[in-house]
Symmetry: C2
Subunit: 453 residues, 2 copies
């Protein structure tokens, strides 16, 4: 097999082969492709073409392709099969975590029908228990396929067990050592199994130091464990300490990718998981909410400025710096929030003791506020005639940076305490609040100073 | 060993132990901790305390701690050692990728002295070649430690080789099969080695299908390969196809993490890699550039609005909607850029054919622009007296959303073509340009309409 780049010209080439009905060429092409590349190809052709292509993929590759393809392509593909066929041809031969993933995307009725049609009752029952775990927990990420060995066995017996399980579990990575009650005691790596004398008792050679999580552990915490301890596979135990399954690094890479994408999209004001290749109305729908929030904020600020209509007529120069003040409030606020959000996500920042964090942020804001205000004051002194305006604008700028930074630090910490994703603090809602806050400070300062000076 | 959360109270507890000089307690505590947790602890104490703690860590754990700790803590720790000692006590016993990573952070002179002091000349020379690869390439990420087997060996000979190499390579994952000239032919997993008859020739059992990269492959491309093909380890070959090293998934997780962080920070206008726990002036320095760009943009917009001073005096209501227009331009632009930047990073978007992408974006912008403008028009008709103003504001809003979206799509694509990181398009520079653009459109439209109507 060869890895390929599925670009437009490749898709065009395959479509041509389909038109020419040169099935032999297509079959040998699909044979030479990785399942991931086939899945990517299927995402980029029409659904009837996708079904045709799938019918030419080899039996044992189809399952892998099915797991890798986009949800809507899979949905359309599976709709041609009865629950019994889905059970026999696909689910039966899949790893349990992949099967649970696909079953979870089916309508409830169909999902139950598929599970009921499985002939392997033990497998069906472990699927049912996997499906019962909440999303974003270890239980929902793990697979039940693993190789375990009783601590009372010898190394040789353990190798025998691998031979017995070899077909079901791939890759193996490590063998889990359990006691009579299936409680996790430790691990032994394949390397150590190869190196150890087959007659030795397992109890003498296994490693008791093993990091494990419980079925209810949150996926973000799991991702942090993989990152911190450089893990490749992580055992999951139930409340009794019994081995329930294992999570492999590829699933965690997926979690890390999704999390980063989520934070990024929240920050850029996109409310759904969209790709540049999605349909126009999907893209539009994902982006409209922020635009509407921005619109509301803009309308609110227009009402606010209206109050100062007379002042603007007397001092139209006040209007000149409105965009500057609003923009700087937004910028300073987003910077503060972003640093807190990242600190929370990477676990480098505790949520205890909010006060010292805000005090630190105050010092950063004070420093940057002073620098920016002094620069702006210098500029205004040189290039504008109004001393009053220079004072007003710089005072307002300084206050805005301070307020926006404190708010930007406080709000994600507060959201996190309230168990809400703090990343929304970097999104549209807060930017809009900071815009408004900036203008309020600006006009209040202006009003006070112009009347005082 | 037990995994631990290194929070403030834990740090406080360790500091108390240090004050009480209860070295026995500290030694047994350090013994029970993972190297990663010790490194995290060292990052959070004073540098003299860190040095004291390090002196109590077991010999074989010290190396791992050294790799995991923050650069500045390591720098201060290593400064107490001579190049000869650094070579003998640390570098000599490290995996080559970790050694290269640490050597790269030393001053050039010291780096050379350390390498020259190594007694193992073969190892020193492979370090030298690792250090010669450019940053962010496969060569700079790989380790030379791996287990390889000649294709003419038997399975049993291959297991013997593992026994010989076991101490140097951990974990092993797979054995690489090479020909007489050390050219990579394929792989065999440990599982298959265990299952195969020791007398079989390796040539009969190894897997010829292996994904590999060259030493010059970019780290982002490598991360995408790991994500797409669910890899755990990836062999690296030189220009002759000879096996040069291997990259493991933990290093790639690091790359993925860093990339996501970089994009996130660029978007939030933070120019350096900073954490919430960094010093005030570091945080200030990382954030000032965006604030200054925002300041410049604000000053530019003030000059621009000044041109329309008379119009504002006659129609102060024009000022009311300035923040709305500027904010909406910024929002629409960032959304478009974010989607393109993600598409480029995940390789789901080609850089060829810019025109259809902009046309698609135009359709999204058209849809969202119409919805927002009509809503705003409705609001203004209901709540403001001026029909002229309602027309002006909605026309300007529509134009701004269109222009900002097209610019937001075009600029990251252009940057990518110019081999500049497209993520800067989501940052301060573009937001500021969009702010300015918005105001320009607003006043131009207003000027035209007020004079026409």
């Amino acid at each position: 097999m060869e890895k390929r780049t599925i670009d437009q010209s490749y898709v065009k080439y395959v479509k041509q082969l389909l038109e020419q009905q040169s099935n032999e060429n297509i079959t040998s092409l699909l044979h030479s492709m990785y399942a991931q590349d086939i899945a990517e190809l299927l995402d980029k052709v029409q659904s009837d073409e996708a079904r045709l292509l799938m019918s030419m993929v080899e039996k044992d590759k189809i399952i892998k392709v099915l797991v890798e393809m986009e949800e809507n392509v899979r949905e359309s593909f599976l709709s041609a099969y009865s629950p019994k066929d889905i059970a026999d041809e696909f689910i039966q031969n899949m790893d349990s975590d992949d099967a649970a993933y696909i079953l979870n995307q089916l309508p409830v009725k169909e999902k139950e029908d598929v599970i009921a049609s499985l002939t392997d009752i033990a497998y069906a029952s472990s699927l049912l228990s996997l499906l019962s775990y909440e999303e974003h927990t270890a239980g929902s990420l793990m697979a039940v396929e693993l190789v375990k060995a009783n601590v009372e066995w010898t190394v040789g017996q353990c190798v025998e067990e691998i031979r017995r399980q070899a077909e079901n579990v791939d890759p193996i990575y490590v063998v889990y050592v359990v006691d009579y009650y299936e409680r996790l005691l430790g691990i032994i790596t394949l390397k150590n199994l190869i190196l150890a004398n087959p007659d030795l008792p397992l109890a003498n050679v296994y490693n008791k130091e093993v990091i494990s999580v419980s079925t209810s552990t949150d996926s973000e915490e799991i991702a942090n464990l993989f990152k911190k301890y450089d893990l490749v596979v992580l055992p999951v135990v139930n409340a009794l300490g019994q081995l329930a399954g294992r999570i492999t690094v590829d699933d965690v890479v997926e979690v890390i990718k999704e999390e980063a994408k989520e934070d990024y999209q929240l920050m850029s004001g996109i409310t759904e998981d969209v790709d540049a290749t999605d349909k126009v109305w999907v893209l539009s729908r994902a982006r409209l909410p922020w635009l509407l929030i921005g619109l509301l904020g803009g309308i609110a600020s227009s009402r606010f400025i209206e109050v100062y209509e007379n002042e603007i007529q007397i001092h139209p120069e006040m209007a000149f710096f409105m965009p500057l003040i609003a923009a700087m409030g937004g910028n300073a606020g987003v910077q503060s929030s972003a640093i807190v959000v990242q600190g929370l996500a990477n676990n480098t920042l505790g949520t205890k003791n909010i006060v010292p964090k805000i005090l630190k942020e105050l010092r950063v804001a004070f420093l940057n506020g002073i620098i920016c205000s002094v620069l702006l004051f210098g500029y205004n002194l040189l290039f504008s005639d109004s001393y009053d305006l220079s004072i007003t604008v710089s005072t307002a700028l300084f206050s805005v940076i301070i307020f926006a930074s404190v708010l930007g630090t406080f709000i994600p910490l507060l959201l996190d305490k309230m168990k809400i994703d703090p990343a929304i603090a970097t999104g549209p809602f807060i930017t809009t609040i900071n815009d408004l806050l900036g203008l309020a400070i600006y006009f209040t300062v202006g009003h006070l100073l112009y009347n005082v000076i």
